[in-house]
Amino acid sequence: MGQFESFSAFVSMNGYGFFVWLSFGVTLVAILLLACHNWLQSKTLKKEIRQQLARQQRVRKTVQRHSVAAE
Amino acid sequence: MSTLNAVFKRELVLAFRQKSELLQPVMFFILVISLFPLGVGPGPETLQKIGPGVIWVAALLSALFGLERIFRDDFADGTLEQQMLSGIPLSLVVLLKVAAHWLVSILPLIVVSPLLSLFLNLTSAMYTALLATLLLGTPLLSLLGAIGVALTVGVRKGSVLLSLMLLPFFVPLLIFATAAVEAAALQLPYNGQLALLGALFLLALALSPVATAYALKVSQN
């Protein structure tokens, strides 16, 4: 285990384990959160655009119906 | 019932529509508090000494400026007129709006307060007392604030006027709250102060919605 004798020594880091692992953990979480945020954002955006396209279709149909009715 | 539900839900939807707005009171709170060490110097003891006062003053100010929007928009766009004509007692609507506002803008302040007591070097006993006073005192703040906002809603540019009217009412609140925290710092009991805050809160809960509704009606004339 590199500089450490055992896995438990590695985890405890001579008593500094809490701080070290807290730092690394929070960093990981922060990075993952931002990455997830980006990913979710792209999902919702694409969904929104698809909804928008569907709405255009709907509107076109109503307009056509109206114009047919008018004639 | 579903009507009241609707009022509450609308407030939440409006708050969450612009997420950045949700965070604004908290950010303001954090910023004001971090200005103090810059202004008075970084000595940990000084900071500890003035900490509770600073946190409370900051909470007062950010509650005050967050409150402004509670009726102003509804007044400006005419929603308030429609609410008055809907036949629902206006004081109920007011109560719900205040509750929603507290949940959305003030609760986050309380949630971040541990961080800030870290900035200001408070001990954990002090922090517990601070938390208790904030939990009891801030709803009182919102209820009182609502009256002030309702009174100034018809007046343009009322934001400073508002603070003028309200700050005197906030003085007792501030004194009891910081007294409790100081007692905690000296390991003394502070139930008395909390009880007083609680009593004030109940009083405000009974009176404020009615007063606020009346003030709103006057603003329409």
């Binding site: - | 609707a6 939807v13 409006l14 529509r17 766009d77 429609q82 809907s86």
Partner: protein, 205 residues
């Protein structure tokens, strides 16, 4: 249905009207006319109870509007201000309004909006609509709430010709079906049925 007796209204230093009485029956459409500043808006706000007259009283079904139980239920008032929150969508704004006014939620609210020419704009924030589109959303209330009495302050501003036609037809049908309407408008109202006109004069200082 609605009676106003001896209303007097003063604004700051001027008497806008004095001893004004009017009564509205089922089937009436009352068109308030008069030059700018005559006091039409002031009168309407008194009639619905938003502001208090200097003297006089307003009765709905022979009870004062402040005591009347179903006045709120039977009234739609649409003033200069649209009562639309610009950050909410048309649907959200109208649903909220309907719930406030005790109207059971209508599933055809989408249909109403699309009939009003707002198809495709139902779920974008109202702030992004044009002046006339916002007015249409505000007027959609007439289709949503079944109320006897409509009080409308300049309903036609910003509307295009089609929309004005639609609203006028709606008003006429409403009057025929046992409702009553008071409106102000500087544009000619060319409904023929049962229309009454009240002309207010501008009182010089």
């Amino acid at each position: 249905m609605l009676d106003a007796n001896n209303l007097t209204c003063c604004k700051s230093d001027r008497v806008l009207f004095q001893q004004l009485s009017l009564s509205l029956d089922v089937g009436d459409i009352l068109h308030l006319q008069g030059p700018n500043g005559a006091g039409k808006t002031s009168l309407l706000r008194i009639l619905v109870g938003l502001s208090q007259p200097q003297s006089g009283c307003v009765n709905y079904q022979h009870t004062s509007i402040e005591q009347s139980n179903d006045f709120a239920q039977q009234l739609i008032y649409i003033g200069h201000k649209p009562a639309l929150n610009p950050a909410l969508t048309a649907i959200e704004n109208l649903t909220y309004w309907a719930q406030m006014h005790g109207v059971s939620l209508l599933s055809d609210i989408w249909q109403i909006l699309s009939d009003l020419g707002l198809a495709g704009l139902e779920d974008i924030p109202v702030s992004q609509l044009s002046a006339g589109q916002q007015r249409r959303v505000a007027l959609a209330r007439l289709w949503i709430k079944p109320a006897k009495l409509w009080v409308l302050d300049e309903p036609f501003t910003a509307l295009d010709v089609n929309a004005i036609d639609m609203v006028q037809q709606k008003m006429q049908r409403h009057a025929q079906q046992g409702g009553a309407v008071i409106l102000t408008s500087h544009q000619p109202v060319d409904m023929m049925h049962n229309i009454k006109v009240l002309i207010m004069e501008y009182q010089w200082l």
